[in-house]
C-alpha cells in the first residue's frame, strides 16, 4: 500500500499508536472496562464536536456552541419540572434557533462565522445568566430520573451514553454521506461558487449547517446537565476549544469539504487519549498543558491530509 493510499487512515493510525504507547507504559490503561468508561464519559464532548464538524465542514466555525450548551443546562434545569421530558424539545429548539440566527448573520449579512458565532455566544450567555439568576441551579432529582433517567446506566455492559452517541453519530454520518443535504454541504465546503452555479440553495444549506451545530450543542448541553443534575451559566465551559481541537485533529481542516463525522470520532478519541494519558503517565500537573500543546502539534502534523490544500494559510 502506498503512502498516498494510507493517508485517509492517518488519524486512525495516530490513535492506535497513542493507545499502544500509553498502554505499553501503563498496561492498566488497556483494561477494557475502563476504556469503555473512558469513552462513555466524553460523550457530551463528542456530541459537541459532531456539531462543530458541520460548521467546519462548510468552511466556517461555530464558537457559540459552548454558550449554547451553557444556556441549555440552565433551560433544562429551570423548566424540567414544568415540562418533563419535553424540556428537551425546548432545549433543542433553542439550540437550533441560535445556530440558525448565527447562520443567517453569516450568510446574509456577511459577518465571518468566527465573529458572528462568537457574538451569538455572548447573547446566549446573557440569556443563561439571566435565566439562572446568576446562581448554580440543581435539578429536581425525581423529575430528572423520571424524564431522563434512561440517558445513563448500562444495558448488557454497554453504557447508555455510548448508545446515544452511536445513534447520533449514525444520524450525522447518514446525513453527511447519504442525503442530498450532506452532499450539498460538501459542495458548499469544497466549492461554494460552483454550488451556486448548480442552482443549490446555498444560503439555506449554510444556515441549516449552523442550525445543526447549534442543535448538537444543545443535545450535548442537555446530556451534560442531566449527568451533572444541574445547570449554570458556566457549566459547559472548557468544551469549546476541545471540540474544535477534536474536529481538527480528526482531519477535517478549516478549509471545508474534507473530512467528516467519522474523522471527528477519531479526533475526539485522540484528544481524550492524550488527556487521560496525562493522568495515567503521572505527568506533572504544571507541565500538562505544555505537553498537551506539543502533542497536539505532532498529532495534527500527522493527521492532516495536505493533498487537498493548495495553500496552507
Amino acid at each position: 500500500m502506498s503512502l498516498e493510499k494510507l493517508k485517509p487512515y492517518f488519524p486512525w493510525i495516530t490513535l492506535a499508536a497513542l493507545v499502544l504507547v500509553v498502554g505499553a507504559i501503563n498496561p492498566s490503561f488497556l483494561n477494557p472496562a475502563s476504556l469503555v468508561q473512558l469513552v462513555a464519559d466524553i460523550v457530551p464532548l463528542f456530541i459537541m464536536a459532531l456539531g462543530m464538524t458541520f460548521a467546519i465542514y462548510i468552511g466556517g466555525i461555530d464558537l457559540s456552541m459552548q454558550q449554547v450548551a451553557n444556556l441549555v443546562t440552565v433551560v433544562a434545569t429551570v423548566y424540567l419540572v414544568q415540562y418533563g421530558i419535553f424540556v428537551s424539545l425546548l432545549c433543542i429548539g433553542a439550540g437550533f434557533a441560535i445556530g440558525a440566527i448565527s447562520g443567517w448573520i453569516t450568510t446574509r449579512q456577511f459577518v465571518p462565522s468566527f465573529v458572528a458565532t462568537l457574538a451569538m455566544g455572548f447573547i446566549a450567555l446573557s440569556g443563561a445568566r439571566f435565566l439562572s439568576g446568576e446562581r448554580a441551579l440543581s435539578m429536581n432529582a425525581e423529575a430528572r430520573d423520571a424524564s431522563f433517567g434512561w440517558m445513563f446506566g448500562n444495558t448488557a455492559g454497554v453504557p447508555h451514553e455510548l448508545v446515544i452517541a452511536g445513534i447520533l453519530l449514525a444520524i450525522a454520518w447518514f446525513l453527511q454521506t447519504r442525503t442530498t443535504f450532506g452532499r450539498a454541504l460538501k459542495a458548499v465546503g469544497a466549492g461554494e461558487l460552483a454550488a451556486v452555479a448548480s442552482g443549490l440553495k446555498v444560503d439555506k444549506i449554510k444556515i441549516l449547517a449552523f442550525a445543526l451545530s447549534g442543535t448538537f450543542a444543545a443535545i450535548a448541553g442537555l446530556m451534560f446537565s442531566v449527568k451533572l443534575s444541574g445547570g449554570d451559566a458556566n457549566l459547559a465551559n472548557g468544551f469549546l476549544i476541545l471540540a474544535i481541537v477534536a474536529v481538527l485533529v480528526g482531519g477535517t481542516p478549516l478549509t471545508g469539504g474534507v473530512g467528516g463525522v467519522i474523522n471527528t470520532l477519531v479526533g475526539t478519541l485522540i484528544v481524550v487519549v492524550i488527556r487521560s494519558a496525562m493522568v495515567y503517565l503521572d505527568v506533572d500537573a504544571t507541565m500538562q498543558q505544555m505537553i498537551f500543546g506539543v502533542i497536539l502539534i505532532v498529532a495534527i502534523a500527522m493527521t492532516i491530509d495536505r493533498s487537498k490544500m493548495r495553500i496552507v494559510k
Binding site: 452532499r183 469544497a190 460552483a194 451556486v196 452555479a197 448548480s198 442552482g199 443549490l200 440553495k201
Partner: protein
C-alpha cells in the same frame, strides 16, 4: 542566444518532455503550440525555472545555466507573463510591478514611495499605459492589468545585464479583439529589447505574431515552422496527428430550428450599468450567439437568464413565464443549465468526484425524501462517461484532477442528464485543446437536435460564426445588429467586427 538542448523531464508515470531542443534568438518572437498535455506548460516551467530538467542542458549565450527557482531565472533575464491574471488586486500598480524587488527603493528599511512611483511610471511608459502607479490594481480593466503585467516583466530590463526572454502564456484570453491588436503591436515594438515566447490556443494569433513556431505533441517538438511557411491546417495536422476537418464547427450538422416556440424571451430588458433594451427570442434547436467585446453585456445577459441578476426594467420569460423570484434555483428548475467560464471555480466542485458533480444540480432526481440513491448516481455517471468518452479511471475520481476538457464534459453531462433544455455556454471551449473543442462542438449540435436552445458566448469570432444560427452583436450594452447564420450564408468576420467596435 537562449537554448535548450535535449531537455528531458519525467513525472511519475508521465514522460512530459522527451529530448526537447528549443532555441530563441535576440529579438525573436517564437510561438509555442500544442494540444493540452502536449508538454507546453512543462516546457515553459522549465524555461522560467519552476521545474528543473532531469536531463539535457540549458545555455544562455553558450554558457550552461541551471535555475533552482523562478527567481534565479529572473536574474538571468527570463520573465513570465502568466495566463491567469497574476497581479495582486489589493496592491497598487507600482507595488505589483516591483513585488519582490522593493529593495532598490529601500533606504534604512524605509520604502521611498516617490522613487518607486517614478520608476513605475517609467515601466508603464514602455507599455504605453498612462495610469497613476498608485492606483489600486482592482480598479483597472483586464486589458490594463495585462499591460501592467507586461510592464512588470519588463523591469528585468533595468535589473539585469544582457538579453531578456519573456514568456507570454495565453496573454490574449481575456482581451477583446482591439486590445489584442494593441498588445501585438506593443510586443513587436518591444522586440528591440527582448525576445518573446508566445503561447496561445488561438492559432490565428500565433501565426500572426510569431517569427517561428514550435509545434509540440506528446512531449516532443514535432515541427518548427517559420512565419512565412506557416499554415494553420498543416500545424493543426501536426498537433493532433490528423487532419482537422474543414467542417471544424460541424456546420454540416446544423439543422434549422423550431421557430414556433420560444424558450427564452427578452422583451426590452435592461440591467442598470450592464445592458439596455435588449430583446430576443431563443427557440428550441437554436444556437444564439452573443458577440461583443469584454464588458459589452454578454455575460450579464447570461447571468440574467440564470437568475443571478435581476433586470431593472423589461420582461424576461423563461418557458413562457417570468421568474417569481430571480434566483439560480428557479432557473435550474425551469431547465436552464449554466456552463460558466470559470470552469474550475463555478463549473465543477474541486474535491468532489465525478458522479457527485454530475448530480449536483439535480440531486432531487436521485433521492427519495432527501436520501440519495447512490447506485443510480453511479450508473448515470458511468453512462455519461461512456457517451461523452470522458477520460477518467472511475466514477470516484476527484474532478479537480481531470483535464480541462474532461471537466467541461462533466459540466455538460451534469446539465444534459438533468434534462436541461436551455444551455448558457460561457466560453465553453476556453483553454481546451482541439480534440476536446471538437467534442464540445459535437455536443452542441446533439443538444440542438434534442430540441435544446443554446445561448453562447464564444471564445473566438470564428467559433461564434461557425456554431450559431443567430448572432446578436452588442456594444457597450446596446444591441447593434442581428445576423442570421444558416449554413452557407454565414456572416464574415469583418461584418461582425465592424459592428462590435
Amino acid at each position: 542566444m537562449y537554448q535548450l538542448n535535449k531537455v528531458d523531464k519525467k513525472f511519475p508515470g508521465v514522460h512530459a518532455l522527451k529530448a526537447v531542443d528549443f532555441k530563441i534568438g535576440r529579438g525573436e518572437i517564437v510561438g509555442l503550440v500544442g494540444e493540452n498535455g502536449a508538454g507546453k506548460s512543462t516546457l515553459m516551467k522549465v524555461i522560467y525555472g519552476a521545474y528543473q530538467p532531469d536531463g539535457g542542458t540549458i545555455t544562455i549565450d553558450g554558457k550552461p545555466v541551471r535555475f533552482q527557482n523562478p527567481r534565479q531565472a529572473m536574474d538571468h533575464g527570463i520573465g513570465m507573463v502568466f495566463q491567469e491574471q497574476s497581479l495582486i488586486t489589493n496592491l497598487t500598480v507600482m507595488e505589483n510591478i516591483f513585488l519582490g524587488f522593493e529593495k532598490q527603493f529601500v533606504r534604512f528599511g524605509v520604502i521611498n514611495w516617490a522613487a518607486m512611483a517614478e520608476a513605475a511610471r517609467h515601466q508603464l511608459r514602455k507599455v504605453k499605459l498612462a495610469i497613476d502607479p498608485a492606483t489600486v490594481t482592482s480598479k483597472l480593466s483586464f486589458a490594463q492589468r495585462q499591460l501592467v503585467e507586461l510592464a512588470k516583466v519588463l523591469t528585468l530590463e533595468e535589473r539585469i545585464e544582457g538579453d531578456l526572454v519573456i514568456l507570454l502564456d495565453e496573454p490574449t484570453s481575456v482581451l477583446a479583439k482591439e486590445e489584442v491588436e494593441l498588445l501585438f503591436s506593443l510586443v513587436r515594438e518591444l522586440t528591440s529589447r527582448a525576445s518573446f515566447i508566445f503561447v496561445s490556443h488561438r492559432m490565428d494569433e500565433v501565426l500572426e505574431l510569431s517569427d517561428r513556431i514550435y509545434v509540440m505533441k506528446d512531449g516532443e517538438v514535432v515541427d518548427v515552422v517559420t512565419h512565412d511557411e506557416a499554415n494553420i491546417d498543416a500545424i493543426q495536422h501536426k498537433m493532433v496527428g490528423r487532419d482537422v476537418d474543414k467542417q471544424y464547427y460541424r456546420e454540416q450538422k446544423q439543422r434549422p430550428y423550431d421557430q414556433s416556440r420560444s424558450l427564452v424571451r427578452f422583451d426590452r430588458v435592461s440591467l442598470a450599468g450592464k445592458y439596455s433594451e435588449i430583446s430576443f427570442d431563443l427557440h428550441p434547436g437554436e444556437v444564439l450567439c452573443l458577440v461583443g467585446t469584454e464588458g459589452s453585456g454578454r455575460e450579464a445577459i447570461l447571468r440574467t437568464i440564470f437568475g443571478l441578476e435581476k433586470p431593472s426594467t423589461g420582461r424576461v420569460e423563461v418557458k413562457g413565464k417570468p421568474f417569481d423570484r430571480a434566483n439560480a434555483q428557479e432557473a435550474v428548475a425551469r431547465g436552464v443549465g449554466y456552463v460558466p467560464r470559470e470552469r474550475k471555480v463555478e463549473g465543477i466542485v474541486n474535491g468532489m468526484n465525478v458522479y457527485e458533480n454530475m448530480t449536483l444540480s439535480q440531486m432531487g432526481n436521485y433521492a427519495s425524501n432527501g436520501v440519495l440513491r447512490i447506485a443510480e448516481e453511479k450508473a448515470l455517471a458511468e453512462d455519461w462517461i461512456k457517451r461523452l468518452s470522458i477520460k477518467t479511471p472511475d466514477v470516484y475520481k476527484d474532478c479537480g484532477g481531470l483535464s480541462g476538457g474532461n471537466q467541461q464534459k462533466v459540466v455538460l453531462a451534469k446539465w444534459r442528464s438533468g434534462g436541461s433544455d436551455i444551455f448558457l455556454l460561457d466560453h465553453p471551449t476556453r483553454g481546451l485543446d482541439i480534440g476536446a473543442k471538437e467534442d464540445v462542438y459535437d455536443m452542441i449540435r446533439e443538444m440542438c437536435d434534442d430540441g435544446a436552445g443554446i445561448v453562447l458566448v464564444a471564445d473566438t469570432l470564428e467559433e461564434a460564426i461557425g456554431l450559431s444560427h443567430t448572432i446578436l452583436v452588442l456594444k457597450d450594452g446596446e444591441f447593434q445588429k442581428r445576423f442570421d447564420g444558416s449554413p452557407g450564408d454565414k456572416p464574415s468576420l469583418y461584418d461582425l467586427v465592424h459592428h462590435m467596435i
